[in-house]
Symmetry: C2
DNA sequence: TTCCTAAATTAGATTTAGTCTAAATATCAA
DNA sequence: TTGATATTTAGACTAAATCTAATTTAGGAA
């Protein structure tokens, strides 16, 4: 599991070297900007944020690098409600999951170790090797007062 | 839960009446074709299949009707690997889940009541009312012989 | 049954996320 | 330092899904 940007850079560099990918300034830049994001973000949002702060990394490179960052475990990628892919840092011990209000868009994050156990059992049963998972519960806020402001992300 | 096409038609008509939507021949046609599908299918695949068998229902109506069929519980909608949405009939007592091989594309379906319990607990904890969920484990086939034919769906 | 209005349908345009291309550039092993 | 080849780039392209505005239809009222 990843802790901070120093650690993330180490992991990324090792991953690139090990896979005989090249270590480039563009890839480092994408990692740095991705790591600065505090919420879920889309590839295009990151590309625009970078551009906005003077970066010249291309859209294609942002998309490609995000995939590499997912592969080496620094980021997670989600597809909420069939919308564009959204990414986020992977910091904790457990890959967290999401509860989404289909009414106001609120996203609640939670850790649940039991889900990992279920995943293991199922993989054992069907002869699979798990890489990761996506568990999303769709519903709505019980308290109407909390279901107003569109608290996306 | 839905059992067969007769039952599905009943549920759909009730849902439409109750929501003061109109009962149209196009909506019935989409339901009939959707129900004939034996595997996961995309909106466009269904549209083309219908067209191919002489139906004149438009693409927009197919897309819209599939959403209604999801809302009333007749179909489920999935987003595997961030690709186009895929639909399927909802027949059993438990909303089944999926195991996907990122190498060969194989999809294994499984029932797991524990996941529903976890969902209930989490919703209780965070003041949510669950509608449905999506649980997908990504991984690869342990047995290389089984990981060849691209057994999609 | 006929009439009327809002809802639904339609073909095709548009939007959007993401991928592809081929020319220019940079990495890194030798 | 050099050169093979991996990477980056701008912009073209693709595919899924949504939107539009004109036309048709469902179903309630009379
Ligand atoms: Mn999250
Ligand atoms: Mn299924
Ligand atoms: Zn809400
Ligand atoms: Zn496989």
């Amino acid at each position: 599991m990843v802790f901070n940007i120093i650690h993330a850079k180490q992991i990324f560099t090792d991953f690139l070297r090990k896979g005989s990918y090249r270590v480039t300034s563009e890839r480092s830049e994408v990692l740095e900007f991705a790591f600065k994001q505090v919420q879920h973000f889309s590839a295009d949002e990151l590309f625009l944020a970078m551009k906005n702060e003077g970066s010249n990394v291309s859209r294609a490179t942002v998309y490609n690098t995000l995939e590499l960052l997912v592969k080496c475990g620094i980021l997670s990628k989600h597809n909420f409600l069939g919308k564009e892919s959204r990414y986020e840092k992977n910091l904790g011990a457990i890959e967290h999951d999401h509860l989404i209000c289909v009414n106001c868009g609120k996203i609640i994050e939670f850790d649940n170790a039991e889900i990992l156990k279920i995943q293991e059992n199922i993989c054992e049963k069907y002869g699979f090797v798990a890489i990761n998972h996506s568990f999303i519960t769709y519903g709505f806020c019980k308290n109407p007062d909390e279901c107003k402001t569109n608290g996306k992300d």
